[in-house]
Point group: C2
């Protein structure tokens, strides 16, 4: 007789797979954990595969052969992604979040564990086939969503800093032109943080001119690392021309000064799902 019932094996398996997305687990791993036969475990996984797909909870891939096993990815369908981002866009639109200088208050959303988990899964879904070895972000506001994206991709997060800190050890510094202020800034990364020949996905919260993003691309050149893409939570509509290419954003932002609001309003934020997401989600 089996030590655990199918419902118990399946529940625990999905929980463990979900805790470590995009990691290859061997079939034996679960067989040993439950003290069950490979045939039973394979059947469990067959049911789980159909189940996560029908509830849009991701995908389970079975890789056959000697180095085979099971991989779970919290891939979200583009329809569901678009629907979520549409809701988020509406909550960011309006006058209440517009700050002096045409900035948008997003600190709460960008540090919300559930929202960033969802955004990270949506962004990761678009990059599984590019096989990044790590996610790179620039401090500070993009760190949470970069972490959740890295988690969904099953890779480490690497954080570039404004200045090299004593507790990072020897570092590579580059200078870059900030898109918004036009001033020259420094970006720093510990030498031991990444290895030559690796592949990197850039993730950050906000893309305006693209100065910071271009800085990260240049920084990766110094490390001999290939950038497979750049992903952002929000991209401004203006300027249309960014300093980086191969970009995907979840939302676009325009501040409209012509929409009449209350006295003291600083403009009306128009936040929409990005063109990329809209096309992919249809």
């Amino acid at each position: 007789m089996e030590k655990y019932r199918r419902n118990e094996r399946m529940s625990v398996t999905l929980k463990l797979l979900s805790d470590e997305p995009n990691r290859l687990f061997t079939l034996s791993h679960f067989c040993e954990l439950f003290g069950t036969a490979k045939s039973s475990m394979s059947e469990d996984l067959d049911i789980l595969r159909k189940l996560v797909s029908s509830f849009d909870l991701g995908e389970i891939e079975t890789i056959t052969g000697a180095s085979g096993g099971i991989i779970y990815r919290p891939r979200i369908s583009m329809t569901e992604s678009l629907s979520y981002i549409e809701k988020l866009s509406r909550s960011l639109s309006g006058t209440s979040r517009v700050l002096p200088g045409g900035f948008l208050y997003t600190s709460d959303i960008l540090a919300d564990p559930i929202a960033t988990q969802k955004m990270g899964r949506i962004l990761a879904s678009a990059y599984y086939d590019t096989f990044p070895d790590f996610v790179l972000t620039m401090e500070t506001k993009g760190i949470p969503v970069a972490l959740t994206t890295a988690h969904a991709l099953g890779v480490p997060l690497v954080i570039a800093r404004h200045t090299s800190k004593a507790y990072e050890g020897s570092a590579v510094n580059i200078n870059y032109v900030s898109g918004s202020s036009g001033s020259i800034q420094t970006m720093s990364l510990a030498r031991r943080a990444v290895q030559a020949g690796q592949q990197c996905l850039i993730v950050d919260d906000f893309l305006k001119g693209g100065g910071t993003a271009k800085g990260m691309v240049d920084l990766m050149k110094e490390f001999d690392v290939k950038v497979v893409g750049s992903a952002f939570v929000i991209e401004t509509e203006v300027p249309a021309q960014k300093r980086v290419t191969n970009v995907r954003s979840l939302m676009t932002l325009a501040i409209d000064d012509n929409i009449e609001g209350e006295e003291g309003d600083l403009g009306y934020a128009v936040v929409r799902p990005s063109k990329w997401l809209k096309e992919a989600g249809l």
Copy 2:
């Protein structure tokens, strides 16, 4: 006949609970999702409750009554917590991570999605009964573990900055004395980030003198917010006296210059599970 089998209902339920820890789900939520009767769903949850407990995957609490429901917490047993932190301590110990100035290279661990998920769950386990409304951290290195702790607690993360940024809006600034350098620094938090009367758990990566932590406590006073505790990944053994009280750390660090190593070594890092964890884990 039921639309979904027990094994399917249980697997999806645990997955959804696990995605949103410490959130109250109503029983009806799952009954509607699966088109099943309350009696069946209650039985599912009874099995799940025993299951997550026996695999040390957390706890499921059922709250009865009109405003009742189900809450999942990824609480890790202290024995398992101690065992994990012992392994982590060993990997941080030695000469290879010691940097000039007696600092330890921890950027990789502190940005690793799996390690921070585990550390966040361990820290959260110690604070469920203090009911924080949010987790506060100071940029930059503590952000990932603060996010995973906040996720496990089911509360938002709030990030204090070194300077007030244009895109944060009006902010409260305080000055504090940095414990390590003795210099006066500024800490800033957007006025709309927290509300008076809330409760806050401070989470950060490193505690030495406690200057930054004390700064966060003072900052919360300005907002009329109660601090329920301060949690750190690593605490230095020296100085023994910190500027904050009510502290729990996962590990302690001492740099020993007397252990003989290779030429060029900057000291030997002795990292151990904290006294709190050792006592709780026995």
